[in-house]
């Protein structure tokens, strides 16, 4: 997948986590995820439709999810409540919605967010399209933004 399709998600993630939430976060080298079912335990999912198809998945451990949603919402969480899951959905929604402004090849609509806890085998990735993982290290734990997007022909 071309960098021009990945960079908007990297920029949107950095803007959200670093600039907006003030989390000490750094991006690591993106890679092709050979097995997209091997994500962390909490995953926020957005489907992309319109002039292309794809999906964006924000994935982290339970602890990191609680830590980051606590910063986002201004309320401290010590359990994976429905409100934490709601916050995870909103975070991936912001990443996908913000990334759209730099995805100039397509006119895209984004789905409502879904959040799963547990094995990522239930995520429906577009068939035959690689999943690119952008890993992040942060002071609140590691996370990843995973993108699969059909390129323009």
């Amino acid at each position: 997948m071309k960098a021009k399709y990945i960079n908007p998600f990297l920029a949107a993630s950095m803007n959200l986590f670093k600039e907006h939430l003030g989390i000490e976060v750094r991006s690591l080298n993106p890679f092709v995820r050979k097995d997209p079912t091997t994500l962390e335990e909490v995953s926020g999912i957005i489907g992309l439709a319109g002039e292309t198809t794809g999906a964006v998945v924000l994935s982290f451990s339970r602890t990191t999810a609680m830590n980051i949603v606590s910063v986002f919402s201004g309320r401290s969480y010590t359990a994976l409540t429905n409100e934490v899951l709601d916050g995870v959905g909103e975070l991936v929604n912001i990443i996908a919605g913000n990334a759209k402004k730099d995805l100039l090849d397509f006119r895209i609509s984004i789905s409502l967010p879904g959040v799963i806890v547990g094995p990522a085998t239930r995520i429906h990735w577009p068939e035959g399209i690689p999943v690119i993982t952008i890993p992040f290290d942060s002071n609140l734990g590691s996370l990843s933004v995973n993108v699969s997007l059909k390129e323009a022909e």
């Binding site: 959200l16 913000n98 402004k101």
Partner: protein, 129 residues
Amino acid sequence: MNVLVIDDSAVMRRIHRNALTEHGIPDDSIFEASDGEAALKMSAERRMDLFLVDWNMPKLDGFQLVKKLRSVSHYAATPIIMITSEAAKYNVMEAINAGVTNYVVKPIKGDVLWQKLKKYIEPGAGGGA
């Protein structure tokens, strides 16, 4: 002054509510709806003076909600602020054409949001304008 906050995320509704109450808007004058249909019902039952509307919501999305509100005579000129993650230019243009008063892209800090909202708050309504 009654403010209706419409967002399918409970976390976002609370963030918006906090931004309003921190600037003097009484908590009991802020109402919440989790989708456009609920917002239409609430705005028919009680006159609202300001709408904060998300775009992507179940049942009736913010874009459709804005068009429906604008077709109601007493909401034809009421401030409707769309607060959404949708940052593409074509989304902004669609929302403006549908009748939004202002368009704000999430994420946004409470103080910055207030700077965009305060001109729509009646003087003296909450002491923050």
